[in-house]
């Protein structure tokens, strides 16, 4: 990027500056012995052309919409279209959540995102003993197609795209969405959205798992195969770093483990015989936006560059769309505090800014009360408005990748990339991510990082305002509570559905799913048939648990 003589001059001047600086520091030293990111990555006080002297602009930075996409995946970025404002929502039953969906859309939200309650996430119905105490608390209760029909009342599925955070039963919820759209008169060719469908990070971090890794992967590939042909606008998987980070990983670990998971999915789909350029354009990603501003921006830029190279060089993808890493971002839940909760609005705003400067395609901003419960309407409105202020007042959307060329940001992008590659190579040497997970490798790396961070917090080496510095009392805030009658209504509805549906047909459909699970035939058409008959999520998952066995937590700590 720089000429020899320019660099030489910079080096000389830096030497002089360094001399002056050390003289000054001998009298007034720096505030801290080490300056580090939230991930404990050491950061220098000053970056100069020297730090990026090897950077090849055309090869490594380039132009937005052009390989390796360091500067973004679209040529015009937010000047053409803003990111999708997608608030993760689900509370109580389908009725309450439908109301929240309409509220958010009426307030300017541009895409939907469903949070399911724990029983749905784990493949249990509301009437299961495993659901005791959990109904409607961490998200919306969905047992059958009936619940999805209520959830989407008055929402046109040809106009809104929907993201569903769902993993072991992802294929079942996708099937329900397809049938529901069909009932609205919208064909599966037209619907758009995403299922998370990323089981590898469940074993690593989020821990809503059901079946062992290998059968889990098989069902994922079934959805990729089916959607590639039948649901062309659907993102078949959202390869997620968010939960990895929230479990305590560093930014580099989040980056590396997520991309290593992505590599494992591409491998698995290609093993099935799929053409990489047929399915890769529909793989999407999901990252955290933590509180360390520049580290996050560098992470997103590095992620795009690594993935583009992986797809082009390793998997020989030919279509530019296959090389693009498109991603959703959620601000960091783990950075928020129960203490002095109004400070969370500020944290979320900074994190949202980092996501936007990093070129995200869609964004969820956390609400100030989410360390306590699902957000109230007031709290979620502030969170949504935070995005709208960012998009329409601050002017940060005017210029594409405005931090490119910063000595610091480019150097940090390079550093994140190098460190991520070290992990990816290590995982390759273990035989890929599935083997690494079976050995507990990423799980232990994250547990280690999480423990180190907590120790640093306890020793006041890391500061969280209101927790270990500037601690003051704060008045309690009003939080959302689940009303007990919602649970009763949900159980009654499930009972009613089971009584009035054609139980002979349900049994037949479950038999077909069992057969396909055993003989390797693509499961998705059978799941669609089953949910159309109001087969419950648990009824289908129970078949899988019987055929494949359950995964139990090895409990690494």
């Amino acid at each position: 990027m720089f000429k020899e003589d320019q660099l030489k001059k910079v080096q000389e001047e830096k030497k002089k500056w360094g001399g002056d600086l050390s003289k000054m520091l001998s009298e007034t030293p720096e505030r801290l012995p080490r300056f580090t990111t939230v991930s404990d990555l050491e950061i220098k006080g000053l970056y100069t052309p020297e730090d990026i002297k090897g950077l090849d602009y055309s090869r490594e930075v380039g132009f937005p919409g052009v390989f390796p996409f360091t500067r973004g995946v679209q040529p015009s970025m937010y000047r053409g279209r803003l990111w999708t404002m997608r608030m993760f929502s689900g509370l109580g039953g389908p009725e309450e959540t439908n109301k929240r969906f309409h509220y958010l859309l009426n307030h300017g939200e541009t895409g939907l995102s469903i949070a399911f309650h724990y029983p749905t996430l784990m493949g249990y119905d509301s009437d299961s003993p495993n659901a005791r105490g959990e109904i409607g608390k961490c998200g919306v209760a969905v047992d059958t197609l009936k619940d999805m029909e209520i959830l989407f009342e008055g929402i046109p599925l040809d106009k809104v795209t929907t993201s569903m955070t769902i993993n072991p039963p992802a294929s079942i919820l996708l099937a329900m969405y397809i049938v529901m759209a069909e009932k609205q008169g919208v064909s599966k060719k037209e619907i758009g959205g995403t299922i998370q469908n990323d089981m590898l990070k469940e074993f690593i971090a989020q821990k809503t798992f059901m079946l062992p890794p290998r059968p889990s992967l098989r069902i994922i590939v079934d959805t990729i195969e089916y959607c590639t042909k039948e649901v062309p606008r659907w993102n078949t998987i959202s390869i997620s770093g968010y939960h990895i980070r929230e479990a305590g990983a560093t930014a580099v670990q989040e980056l590396a483990f997520t991309l290593a998971d992505g590599i494992a999915y591409v491998d698995a789909a290609m093993e099935r015989g799929l053409d990489v350029d047929d399915f890769a354009p529909r793989l999407s990603f999901f990252f955290d936006s933590h509180i360390d501003f520049f580290e996050e921006i560098a992470k997103y830029r590095a992620a795009r560059r690594i993935w583009a190279n992986v797809m082009k060089e390793r998997f020989m993808a030919k279509k530019p769309r296959s090389w693009m890493l498109r991603f959703h971002t959620q601000t960091a839940g783990c950075s928020l505090t129960a203490q002095q909760p109004f400070n969370n609005v500020v944290r979320t705003a900074y994190e949202a800014l980092a996501a936007v400067l990093g070129g995200t395609q869609s964004l969820h901003t956390n609400s100030l009360d989410e360390t306590y419960a699902i957000p109230t309407e007031e709290a979620v409105t502030i969170a949504l408005r935070t995005q709208q202020i960012l998009a329409e007042e601050t002017g940060v959307t005017n210029t594409i990748d405005p931090l490119a060329g910063s000595y610091f940001v480019e150097a940090l992008t390079n550093e994140m990339e190098e460190k991520a590659w070290d992990y990816i190579r290590k995982i390759d040497e273990m035989g890929g991510m599935v083997k690494a997970i079976e050995r507990g490798y990423p799980q232990m790396e994250i547990a280690e990082a999480a423990y180190r961070f907590q120790r640093q917090m306890d020793a006041n080496e890391k500061v969280t305002v209101g927790v270990n510095k500037y601690v003051t009392d704060h008045p309690p805030i009003t939080i959302w509570r689940m009303r007990p009658e919602i649970e009763e209504r949900q159980l009654k509805r499930l009972q009613e559905v089971k009584r009035t549906r054609n139980n002979g047909k349900v049994k037949e459909c479950l038999g077909e799913i069992r057969k396909a699970s055993q003989n390797g035939e693509n499961l998705i058409p059978h799941i669609i048939n089953a949910v159309r008959e109001y087969t419950t999520i648990q009824e289908i998952c129970d078949v899988w648990r019987e055929v494949y066995g359950r995964y139990t937590d090895p409990g690494y700590f």
Binding site: L121, R132, G133, E134, A373, A450, R455, F557
Partner: protein, 133 residues
């Protein structure tokens, strides 16, 4: 020589948030306690069976899903049923202030909410849990 304090760290319910449980398990181990970690997705029945089988002095329950109002009292009731109510039950996670009082009323000895340091939890265990005979 007095034997070490034995603690069962347990993750009840469907909640998968195990960052806190694992940190506290490690912190207790580093403090010299014997720690058994159940892993995720344990029913109250499984937790009580493990506590009795492992002959622990205390059970630390971690829950962040909001199901604490059902699960904590259930564990205490089951312990009573097995004649093991001398096992001290404490917990941590996302517990709204208004629930803390009623949970303590049902027999939970302490609840550690966000912002607790490892040292504070260790100190509480040393002061409140003794190795059972």
């Amino acid at each position: 020589m007095e034997r070490k304090i034995r603690i069962l760290i347990a993750k009840p319910g469907l909640d998968g948030h195990d960052r806190g449980a694992k940190i506290i398990a490690r912190g207790f181990r580093d403090a010299g306690f014997e720690v058994i970690y159940t892993g995720l997705h344990q029913t109250p029945e499984q937790i009580v069976a493990a506590a009795i089988q492992e002959d622990v002095d205390g059970i630390g329950l971690s829950i962040l899903s909001g199901a604490h109002d059902y699960i904590f009292p259930q564990v205490i009731q089951l312990l009573q049923g097995k004649g093991a109510s001398d096992i001290v039950v404490f917990g941590g996670g996302i517990i709204p202030e208004e629930d803390i009082l009623s949970l303590k009323g049902s027999g939970v000895k302490a609840l550690f909410v966000p912002g607790t340091t490892i040292e504070e939890a260790v100190k509480w265990v040393r002061e409140n849990i003794k190795p059972r005979k």
